[in-house]
Symmetry: D2
Subunit: 140 residues, 4 copies
């Protein structure tokens, strides 16, 4: 199984008055990671949208274990745990990255269910085989 890894730096925009990252912003980083996974597999969402395909989020669950703070480097690990006709479930985990480049504390873990819809009809449509095939190396 291959994990898809993306790295993010924590900026001021990500933090809140508690001095740590605002809880909803971890979801933005996970979304960036899914976007990069799709891009690595050869698909850009603007292009897909021009072809009437849009991925929307059906649901997610996330558990927070620790908080990132300003200037931290974090690492998002993404795999795809489930694929159906029109949905994919991404399993994503965010950890700190230490100075030496090794993995630090677990910050949060999430499962994100994404569905494929038609931009024009807003109805569910099949995920093209070309996409499910290309991302299959990230299946967990």
């Amino acid at each position: 199984m291959t994990e898809f890894i993306t790295k993010v730096r924590v900026y001021i925009e990500d933090t809140d008055f508690g001095g740590v990252v605002y809880h909803a912003n971890y979801l933005r980083w996970m979304e960036r990671a899914r976007t990069e996974l799709l891009r690595a597999a050869g698909f850009e969402q603007q292009t897909l949208m021009d072809d009437d395909l849009l991925f929307v989020i059906r649901g997610l669950d996330i558990r927070y274990r620790a908080s990132a703070q300003l200037d931290d480097k974090i690492r998002v690990k993404t795999t795809i745990s489930e694929v159906t006709f029109a949905t994919m479930v991404f399993s994503q985990q965010i950890n700190l990255e230490l100075e030496d480049g090794s993995e630090g504390a677990l910050l949060c873990k999430a499962n994100v269910q994404v569905a494929s819809i038609s931009v024009s009809s807003r109805k569910v449509m099949a995920i093209p085989k070309s996409i499910t095939g290309a991302v299959s190396i990230y299946r967990s």
Copy 2:
């Protein structure tokens, strides 16, 4: 059981290239609703923080049913489904609000687990009885 209701208008900042609200922004609205519920019960988070108390999010699950778009009026309904020594679970639902002020389509539902920690030690601490007592009217 009393539901705590807050209302929000969808602005450009909330939308994304798909023409609808960016998924993580519903969580911002739910957080505003929890903040207003606490305020209605007599507690402001800046004041609590000055008293060393900070509420942090331990985890959440959310299911999306439909999307809000620019200019929509939406309504967040919040109840508290569970209270323990140091955690509260908020059950929150977002619906459209129709022109006539009645409730429209369900957009999403979430359960959000919040924990009470000490700002100074970052350790879990008991939720003051004054708070659990004051919010108990919103228990579901």
Copy 3:
């Protein structure tokens, strides 16, 4: 001259690690205020967009004097200081609102130049007279 006034509450999402509102978020509030001014004048941007009209920001300048923090109530005052064939300049000021509802300290002042473009061609187009007429009561 009539000032258009909107009110906003500061939520956790608006703050940053400095304990005050993140600088770019004041621009979100000003944008909400312009949206509400247009709505009060009878125009919703989603509807305008369906009619091929989109307002885009050409430029702005903003001066910050003081910072809002969590739980503060703030007030955005908006007037229109200039109108041309395809542009409007909004003069906007944000102040704290005190407990008694009176105006508190000045937080920031900005001038925001907005242009009217065609969604389909992305080219500048005239602002409909119906709009410039309706918002003229807010001319400064």
Copy 4:
């Protein structure tokens, strides 16, 4: 004169219903660039804050020429055009980056005035010589 260059990818979170980047988000990218410039010079803002130093934005002006859209790669060029006792003015420009890595269309240009304050007193304080010295290579 050395320009400090940072690169950013446009993600869904950055876009709005108009299909392009929300105007205030260019300021987030410029802030990331200033943060990276300071980091490259040896200073991290969390560390500075622990030493009672906080940089706050006094004012800015920005002109928008074109819009970035989802999946675009953009480049932020930053120089420091002015340094005083307690303030620095950053001149920042954002351009598209083309496939071949060369610079594409100009998207926006801004001047951002930053002031150095004491976290504890919230009063203006001198920018340490160590900082002004280290960033002087980026003076324009």
